[in-house]
Structures are given as structure tokens and as C-alpha cells.
């Protein structure tokens, strides 16, 4: 973000992807226009949908800050976002998908926080806010909110942990504002992934910069419970596709590492995968134990209510059974947990060993990017640019 006084207040460029979802786009436009931070430019990228409907909606707004780009055919998430980004010249950018929404203070708070962090934590090139998951119902031209639940409030505020984000993407695009130059340096979003392009982008972003999580619930990550027609394609993530893309990425990273070209991400992911599995199993055992204990307590309470107050013998027997069960289950649980601890130690050791290699690779990559940039500057021609981009 530019720090020159003339750049204040900074303009935030916003990219909104849409495709034949007028009710959602209408709500998204309202969300952007309700921002208390008035310095923004919005590029609506119509990814292969009916241009007339989008044009009509934007004309309704009569807001010169909004422009539209039409794709004659759908190019997918990465390409659509990149197309939007190319239209923008602002220091900061945000992705506001047509399905999602912001609280009116979202941009104002993010801009203020980024400005403060620029002085105190220069490694921060992006901020995110807490967000709620909103479950929508769409019928015809109407969108109704069915339910809201916290989405990522479990994450500690402050710097986003690369380690945690690698496990799952808890920073959806709607909650993220970042520096455009940093995104450009990363080559924008990946265009050949049908899903998880946002996770891939964040993983690459965190390889170079920090992201700061603001503990205010200013973004709404919408999902749809039941949908019809063209809405269907954008309903709750297709878990199969999601898993497929995740595996594609993990395989790619590991392949590069094994070929000596990667930064260690693949090896790191492969090592932690069994640990994550074990942690999940330990959590499942613990949950089961808690449930069993709860059931036993319920039974005990029921029996207590039915027994004559003076006759405590059956209750005592029940407590004995409970204690015996505890004794049997507890060692097993401890065994699993101690294995998990041992594996975590191994993981830490490996991580410590890998980190220097990872850092070396990252600096190599940075040098390469610099080199590419210099080459690009020197041989700036449309033909060479096309080759480089490929």
C-alpha cells in the first residue's frame, strides 16, 4: 500500500464474479455500496452469463465507481478474478463474490488496520476479518437468510498461522483485503483449478507475506441450502471436487519437492497428513468417551430419580461400573494421545530441518522472480510477454 499522503484515503479495488445470479448480484451491489469507506472501485466480471441482466442491474445503480467486464464464455474462478484485477489500479484489492456480503464497516476497518500494520508489522500485506457462515435460501428472485453461524471465530486473532491455514482454508475471499502489487507478484490466482484457487492463492501469499486476522465479524460467507436452476452450480462446495483439487495441489507440491524444485511444501504436507489423521481419531475417541460418560450420568440421574432416597446401593453400583469403564477406556485414550504427542515431536523436528531448505528455496524463487521481472522489463514486447506468462 502506498504510504504517500496523497494516497490517503486509499482506494480499494473490488472484484465481483457473477454468472446469471441477479438476486445475488443485487445483494452484493447493495453490500458494496453500503460501505462507510466510500473510496472503492468495483469491477463486476460476468463470467459467461447473460450480459443484459448484469448491465441492467449496474445501470440501476447509476454509480460511476462500478464497471463491468463480460466474458462470452465462463472461464472459471481464477481467470475471472484475474480479469477483474487487471482492470484495477488501486493499492488494495478485495474479492467480493456475488453470493457474499459485508457489514458496512468492513472496508473502513480493514483499511485502517492495514495502515496501522504497515508501520508496525511491515511483513503484513493483507488483512482478514472474522466471518459468519450464512445459509441462504433462494426462491425465484428472492434470497432469504435461513441461518447464521460463526465460521472462523475459533482462529486466534492476529497473524494468521501458515501452519493452520495449510490444514484448512479458514480465510474465505470475502473476508480478505490485500495489496494488489503482492498479488500481481504472485501471478494472481491460478486459472486451471476448478476449486480451491483461493486456498492456493493464500498458501502462496503466506509463503511471502503475513496476513493479519482482525477479531471483528465483518464479513458474511454465504452458502445456499437448496437451489434450483442455474444457481445449482454454485451451491455448497462439491466435496468430491474439493478433495480432488486439494489432492492435485498436494501432489504437485510433492512432485516439485521430489524433483528438487519445490520449497518443501509437499514434503511438509505429506508428513503432517498421518498426524492430522491420528489427531482426528484421538478426538473421535475422546468424543465417544465423553458421550459414554454423559449417557452414564443420564442413566444415573434417571435411576436416582426413581430410587427411594435412602436406597443408594444401586447408584453406588452404577458409579462403580462407571469408574470401571473409565479405568478401561482411559489407558487406551492415553495411549493414542501419547502416540500423537510423539508424532508431533517428530513433526516439529522435521519442520525444523525443513525450514532452512524452505527459506533457501523461497529466496531462490524471489531471485528468479526478480530476474524474470528484469528480463520482462528489458524485452518488453507482446510476443515475449505471452511466452513469459505461459
Amino acid at each position: 500500500m502506498s504510504t504517500s499522503p496523497s494516497a490517503w484515503p486509499p482506494v480499494v479495488g473490488i472484484v465481483t464474479r457473477t454468472q446469471d445470479r441477479s438476486p445475488l448480484l443485487r445483494r452484493a451491489l447493495r453490500s458494496v455500496r453500503a460501505q462507510s469507506h466510500p473510496h472503492w472501485k468495483l469491477v463486476v466480471v460476468n463470467d459467461g452469463g447473460d450480459p443484459a441482466a448484469v448491465d441492467a442491474l449496474i445501470a440501476e445503480q447509476a454509480d460511476p465507481r462500478i464497471q463491468v467486464v463480460h466474458h462470452p464464455r465462463a472461464l472459471g474462478m481464477g481467470a475471472t478474478v484475474n480479469a477483474g484485477l487487471r482492470q484495477l489500479d488501486s493499492d488494495l484489492v478485495a474479492i467480493h463474490d456475488d453470493a457474499d456480503s459485508w457489514a458496512p464497516e468492513f472496508l473502513a476497518v480493514c483499511v485502517a488496520e492495514l495502515s496501522r500494520l504497515e508501520r508496525t508489522l511491515p511483513s503484513v500485506h493483507g488483512v482478514a476479518t472474522y466471518c459468519n457462515r450464512v445459509l441462504d435460501r433462494v426462491s425465484g428472485q428472492f434470497v432469504e437468510v435461513d441461518q447464521i453461524e460463526p465460521f472462523n471465530l475459533w482462529a486466534p486473532p492476529g497473524l494468521v498461522s501458515f501452519h493452520q491455514l495449510f490444514q484448512e482454508n479458514f480465510v474465505p475471499p470475502i473476508s480478505f483485503v490485500f495489496r494488489r502489487d503482492s498479488a500481481e507478484a504472485l501471478g494472481g490466482f491460478r486459472e486451471n483449478l476448478p476449486d480451491l484457487a483461493d486456498w492456493d492463492f493464500l498458501v502462496r501469499f503466506l509463503q511471502r507475506h503475513d496476513v493479519y486476522l482482525i477479531p471483528e465479524v465483518l464479513a458474511f460467507y454465504h452458502h445456499r441450502m437448496s437451489v434450483t436452476g442455474t444457481m445449482e452450480g454454485a451451491a455448497i462446495e462439491d466435496s468430491h471436487q474439493h478433495q480432488l483439487c486439494r489432492t492435485v495441489l498436494l501432489n504437485e507440491w510433492l512432485r516439485r519437492d521430489l524433483a528438487g524444485e519445490g520449497g518443501g511444501l509437499g514434503i511438509y504436507a505429506s508428513l503432517r497428513s498421518p498426524l492430522d489423521l491420528l489427531s482426528q481419531r484421538a478426538a473421535a475417541v475422546e468424543k465417544k468417551l465423553t458421550e459414554t460418560n454423559q449417557r452414564l450420568e443420564d442413566v444415573q440421574k434417571t435411576l436416582y430419580g426413581k430410587l427411594i432416597p435412602d436406597s443408594r446401593e444401586p447408584v453406588q453400583r452404577l458409579q462403580d461400573i462407571q469408574a470401571a469403564l473409565y479405568e478401561q477406556l482411559l489407558p487406551r485414550l492415553n495411549q493414542v494421545l501419547s502416540q500423537s504427542d510423539r508424532l508431533k515431536d517428530i513433526q516439529t523436528q522435521l519442520y525444523e530441518q525443513i525450514t532452512p531448505a524452505l527459506n533457501r528455496t523461497l529466496s531462490q524463487v524471489e531471485r528468479l522472480v526478480g530476474l524474470v521481472q528484469r528480463v520482462r522489463d528489458r524485452f518488453s514486447s507482446p510476443l515475449i510477454n505471452r511466452i513469459l506468462r505461459r
Binding site: E105, E144, I148
Partner: protein, 676 residues
């Protein structure tokens, strides 16, 4: 140590003596002889030896070495032991146990070493100054002495005491006695009342027949038997015993170390006794009495903690937030003056109703419940309108949430209302945005240029602090807020922001659990009543004709009884606090930092008397955010024929479960209910 203005001492109050047996007995006498300590004058501490702890605390204001601090901690114990040694030695050497203060300090110097002589001299002076600060006249005995003088009788004082006649004379004069003829003191005369040897000597000096002297004192043996054996007239006037003041008796051999708990218990016990004696008439009003006895100590302790916390945190400005902080600010100011704190302070007109909704810059679900919390069963329509939402515009959403009409009453923590507000979240955020234009401007105006603010509030979940922070604007990350609370529950977690502080005096983040339970079981409702400001609730803000943003205050007739009672209670609090200020002029307030101040409050919450449960339980408490019209009794008194289920429901509705237990004791016993 700060000198007192004698004219300001309430101790000069007298009570009528006409018709009393003492005045009748005086008729035939020429001389009125009075015992001094615990008869003519009293100390505002629970027992005489507590003076030593206060003397040590007074020195803590000075620059001290580590070793001196160590000795100060042990001083009360050492002072008691030195007095005993001095008396034993005197007995052995002169056949009397009467000693002078100088002899006691000589033993101390001998025990601690000559290098501590300067410290001991400072302690001796501090002890004398504390004596002057803590003593006050018995209003009846002062009245009697004045009446005796008006009838041209001579007034003398006889005391078994280690202080000199000159010192005691000064104490008596400071307490309001004047024109007396003599002060006879055992430490100087070498004779005593308890041995019976002082009375003949005094009679000799007064040159008056024994039967013409009336002696009055609190000791049946020393004052009455001794005087009567010498042929004097004597009347026993026993002073309030420690047991009557609620102060626990000191076990033989128990430590007298100068820890804050000990000093504060001594002060509270002594001030309670002073209240009974000197302020008897004022304390006849049950609210004033409650204020003096319970909330006076509590809020004095809180003010001390607050002043020291602000001194440590060093904010640029302190904001006393909402009605609960009105009295806190009043009590804090004189303490701040004493500590030399020049921190700018400002009272902020605010309420949950005026800030909570406005502060919905974001949408944290936990916070949503507090927008419609309450036990009064308000209608859906009323609740929605209070939140700036028009039910007629959202009929479909109402139906989807499970409501059939806007007249439908809401249940406590109604999940349908939660669902409805979720579905209307965008509208709610718009309402909040519109409303905070004024509230935000008001709060930013109060914050001024300050960036590090202290927020003083009663508790309990930190909602107001986080609301205030968000209302300071999107650039609120430039501010640092330190909240200072009486107590904070564990739910405060959701309102914590990194880099901002939330500090509590009595319970922090729900711990200790016993205190947390006491507060949620009634302490919250009682304290909110006790702290209630004399103005109506802040409903919102408006722009005045001169362009400023000003608060809109409610005029609520239904609240008038509540406010009147709170006002009387505040009177009692002020009386206690002023007495505290009077007697602790030079005491290092750091030596008084303890939560012992809250003992009587917790006693009230957990084990109220029938009278306390009755008067406090009958008060009505506002219910819900932004609507003080709905008021519920703090504790219902249920009719004698109430069924078991209704009693249980009554408990759930009650704001004070321990008060409920006392107010409905018969019903609870009849139904065999256990309310634990």
C-alpha cells in the same frame, strides 16, 4: 499526616441527656469524672491495638529501605509484645504495671537495635497522629460533660493509659471536649483505676468529698468497683462490645501483622461502631443504614483499587461509563486528589440501550442475544421496534422464524427471535449504522485527543467497553482501552480485543467461581441498584440547538421509588466514605488494597436478614435493553398458597436467588424445595 479540621468532625454531635440516670446522679455531685477511652472518646478501629497497624501503614508513604519495610510488617506484633515487656519490668522494678509510651518504645529500641531508633521515632509520632485521627467523642458523654459544665460542675478525666496527660488532653479537645479541669493518667501518676489507687489521689487533688464525685466508665471492675470502694458515686456505661459490631474476636496469640486484610477489617469494624454511636439518627433510615454498613465499605474498597489501578495504568483519560459509574466517579475524585492523580475524568451518559445496538459494526452472534434479553415477556413487535425494525416490513421473515403475530410475547432467550435477527442481519446493521452517527460523535467528542483511555464500569461481560471501542470509529485500532470493573464473568472472552485490557477487582473472567455464583445469584442486581445514578436512563442522543450531541435521558415515573431509595443509600455510602477519609488522612492507601472491603456485601448477597430481603426484594429492576418501562421485582413475595411449580418458576424469574430463599422461606420449607 494531614491535620483534621475540628469543625468538620461529625464527632461533635451530641445526643440529649435530659432524663438520663447519669444526669440525675450528677445533680448531687460537684465533680463529673470520666473515663477516657471507650467512654468519653472512641476509636474508629475495631480494637485499640489496630492503631499500630494503621501507624505502620502511615509510614508506607515514605521512602523506606527493605529492612524497614520488613519491620513495619511486624510492627503491630512487636508493639504489643514491647508493651507487655515494659509492664512486666515496671512491675518488677516499681510494683506497678503502669507505663508510659516512651518506656514502651525504649523496649522496642532495645529489641530492634539502636540503628532503628529513627524508624521507631517516626512510628511513635505516627501512632500519636493515628490516635488523633481515629478518635471521636461519644455523643452522649460529650453532651453530659457540656450539661455538667452548664450547671457549673467541674469535669475531670481519669485514664489508665500509656499516653501522657498532655496528649490525651489534646485528643479530648480535638474530639470536642473543652473547659475540663484535669486529666489524670496512670502512666504519669504511677497509680491506676484498676488497682483502685488512682481514686483517692484524685479526690485529694480535687479537694472535694468522695460522695460529691460521680465517675462514669466502661469497665465494671476498674471504673465502677474501684470508684465505689473509694466512696465515689459510679455509673457503669459499657461501650459496644466487639461481638455486637460483627467484628470477629481476636484469638489469643493471633497474628497482628500489619497486612491489609487486618487493617481494613479493623477500620470497617471501627467505622461501623462509630456509625451506630455518632450517626444513629441518620442511620435510622434503612436505606441509609444499608448504604453505610454494606455499600460504603464495598465502594470505598473499590475506589481505592480504582485509584491505584489508574495510577499504574497511566491512561490519558478515564471515562466513567453509564449510570453505574456515577457514584464511582464521585468517590474516586477525593482519593485521586489524595494520591496526586491529575488524570482527566469524565462521566459518560450511556446505557446498554444507547450503545449496544449502535455498536453493531460487526455481527457477533453471541452479542445478538443481549439485544432482546429480559424476563418480562415483551411482545415481538415492541422488541423489534426498540431495535429500529418495523415488523410490518418483515412479515415473511417473522413467519419463517416461527412467529404468528407481532403481538406474540417473547420467551426468555427465545430462539425464534435469534433466528429472526439473523435473517434480518443486513437491516439490523443498517439501523446500527444510521444510529451510530450520533452516538459515535458523542463518544469521540468525549475521548478528545486521548488515545489511551480507561473505561470504568461495573461489569460484567465487557459489552460496553467493546461497544465503545467500535463506536470510536473504524480507526479504533489507534486507541487503547483499559476497562476497570468490579467483576467480569467468563463470557467477557468474546469482548476482548488484542492490545486492550480488561481488569476486575473482585472476580476476573468468572473466577473465583464462588464469587461469580454470588454475583449472578443476586449481587449484580443489588450492586446495579446501589450504583444507580440520580438521572434517568440514557435513551439515545440528539443534536442540540448549538450543534452539539447531547444525551436523551428518560423520565420514568415507574423508576422514581427505585431512584429515591438509591439516593438514600448513596447518603449512607457518602457518610461512610467521608468517615474513612477523615481517619485515614496519612495512611498509605496501598496498605488498604484488599477485597475484605466486600465482606459485608457478600454477606448481604448470600445471607440477607429478613428485613434486608424484604426491602431490597421489593425493589423493581429494569428488564431488557433499551426499555426500562418493563420492571420486575428483584425478588417476588409469593402468596402462601403458591404451588410447588410456581415457586420454582418464581426462583427462575428472581434476580436474587438468595433473597428469594429468605423472602419465601415458608413456601420453600412447606414444599421441601432445595434451591441450591
Amino acid at each position: 499526616m494531614r491535620k483534621l479540621d475540628p469543625a468538620s468532625r461529625a464527632a461533635q454531635v451530641t445526643v440529649p441527656v435530659h432524663g438520663s440516670p447519669e444526669l440525675a446522679a450528677l445533680e448531687a455531685c460537684e465533680v463529673l469524672s470520666l473515663d477516657v477511652f471507650d467512654t468519653a472518646i472512641h476509636r474508629c478501629v475495631d480494637r485499640p491495638t489496630s492503631v499500630f497497624g494503621l501507624a505502620a501503614a502511615a509510614l508506607l508513604n515514605e521512602r523506606l529501605t527493605e529492612r524497614e519495610i520488613h519491620h513495619l510488617g511486624k510492627f503491630p506484633e512487636q508493639r504489643v509484645a514491647a508493651e507487655a515487656t515494659a509492664r512486666d519490668r515496671k512491675q518488677a522494678s516499681a510494683g506497678t504495671r503502669e507505663v508510659h509510651l516512651d518506656e514502651i518504645y525504649a523496649v522496642l529500641e532495645e529489641q530492634l537495635g539502636a540503628e532503628h531508633a529513627p524508624l521507631l521515632e517516626r512510628l511513635r509520632l505516627a501512632e500519636l497522629e493515628v490516635e488523633e485521627h481515629v478518635t471521636y467523642a461519644d455523643p452522649f458523654v460529650l453532651g453530659l460533660a457540656r450539661e455538667a459544665q452548664a450547671r457549673r460542675k467541674r469535669v475531670v478525666f481519669c485514664s489508665d493509659m500509656y499516653l501522657g496527660a498532655e496528649t490525651i488532653s489534646a485528643l479530648l479537645q480535638a474530639a470536642g471536649y473543652s473547659g475540663f479541669q484535669h486529666v489524670f493518667v496512670s502512666s504519669e501518676l504511677g497509680v491506676s483505676k484498676h488497682q483502685g489507687t488512682m481514686f483517692p489521689m484524685v479526690r485529694e487533688k480535687l479537694q472535694v468529698p468522695a460522695e460529691k464525685i460521680l465517675h462514669i466508665g466502661d469497665s465494671a471492675q476498674a471504673d465502677v468497683e474501684g470508684a465505689q470502694l473509694a466512696g465515689w458515686n459510679a455509673i457503669h456505661r459499657p461501650y459496644l462490645q466487639p461481638a455486637e459490631t460483627g467484628a470477629p474476636p481476636l484469638l489469643p496469640g493471633a497474628s497482628q501483622r500489619a497486612n491489609p486484610d487486618r487493617v481494613v477489617r479493623a477500620l470497617v469494624g471501627g467505622l461501623q461502631r462509630r456509625g451506630e454511636l455518632v450517626l444513629g439518627e441518620a442511620l435510622q433510615d434503612p436505606w441509609v443504614h444499608l448504604g453505610y454498613r454494606v455499600f460504603g465499605p464495598l465502594l470505598t474498597g473499590h475506589a481505592l483499587w480504582l485509584a491505584h489501578s489508574l495510577q499504574a495504568l497511566r491512561p490519558e483519560k478515564a471515562l466513567f461509563l453509564a449510570r453505574d459509574a456515577f457514584l464511582m466517579l464521585e468517590l474516586y475524585k477525593p482519593l485521586a486528589d489524595r494520591l496526586g492523580l491529575s488524570l482527566p475524568c469524565e462521566y459518560v451518559f450511556a446505557s446498554r440501550g444507547s450503545l449496544l445496538l449502535d455498536s453493531f459494526t460487526d455481527f457477533q452472534l453471541d452479542r445478538l442475544w443481549s439485544l432482546f434479553a429480559g424476563r418480562a415477556g415483551r411482545s415481538l413487535g415492541t422488541t423489534m421496534r426498540n431495535l429500529g425494525l418495523l415488523p410490518e416490513r418483515h412479515r415473511d421473515a417473522l413467519q419463517r422464524a416461527g412467529f404468528s403475530s407481532e403481538e406474540e410475547p417473547l420467551e426468555r432467550n427465545d430462539p425464534r427471535m435469534f433466528r429472526l435477527l439473523c435473517s434480518l442481519h443486513a437491516s439490523l446493521l443498517d439501523v446500527a449504522k444510521e444510529r451510530r452517527a450520533l452516538s459515535g460523535e458523542y463518544l469521540r467528542g468525549i475521548a478528545g485527543q486521548a488515545r489511551h483511555l480507561a473505561v470504568v464500569d461495573v461489569g460484567w461481560m465487557g459489552n460496553m467497553q467493546s461497544s465503545l471501542l467500535r463506536l470510536l470509529g473504524p480507526d479504533h485500532n489507534q486507541f487503547r482501552l483499559d476497562g476497570l470493573y468490579v467483576g467480569l464473568s467468563k463470557e467477557v472472552k468474546g469482548n476482548r480485543y488484542p492490545g486492550h485490557g480488561m481488569h476486575a477487582w473482585l472476580w476476573q473472567d468468572g473466577l473465583p467461581e464462588s464469587r461469580c455464583a454470588a454475583f449472578w445469584g443476586g449481587g449484580v442486581a443489588l450492586l446495579e441498584f446501589a450504583l444507580c445514578a440520580p438521572h434517568g436512563s440514557t435513551l439515545g442522543y440528539r443534536r442540540s440547538s448549538d450543534g452539539r450531541v447531547e444525551p436523551v435521558l428518560e423520565r420514568n415515573e415507574r423508576e422514581s421509588d427505585y431512584l429515591r431509595s438509591a439516593d438514600a443509600l448513596h447518603k449512607g455510602v457518602r457518610l461512610f466514605f467521608q468517615s474513612f477519609l477523615d481517619i485515614t488522612g496519612g495512611v498509605a492507601t496501598a496498605a488498604l488494597l484488599t477485597d475484605r472491603w466486600a465482606d459485608e456485601f457478600f454477606r448481604l448477597v448470600l445471607a440477607p436478614t429478613e428485613q434486608e430481603a424484604e426491602i431490597l426484594g421489593s425493589l423493581t429492576h429494569s428488564d431488557g435493553v433499551g426499555d426500562t418501562r418493563a420492571r420486575l421485582p428483584i425478588v417476588e413475595k409469593l402468596p402462601p398458597d403458591t404451588e410447588r411449580a410456581q415457586v420454582e418458576q418464581g426462583l427462575v424469574r428472581s434476580f436474587w436467588r438468595y433473597g428469594f430463599r429468605v423472602r419465601n422461606a415458608d413456601l420453600i420449607a412447606r414444599h421441601g424445595l432445595s434451591l441450591d
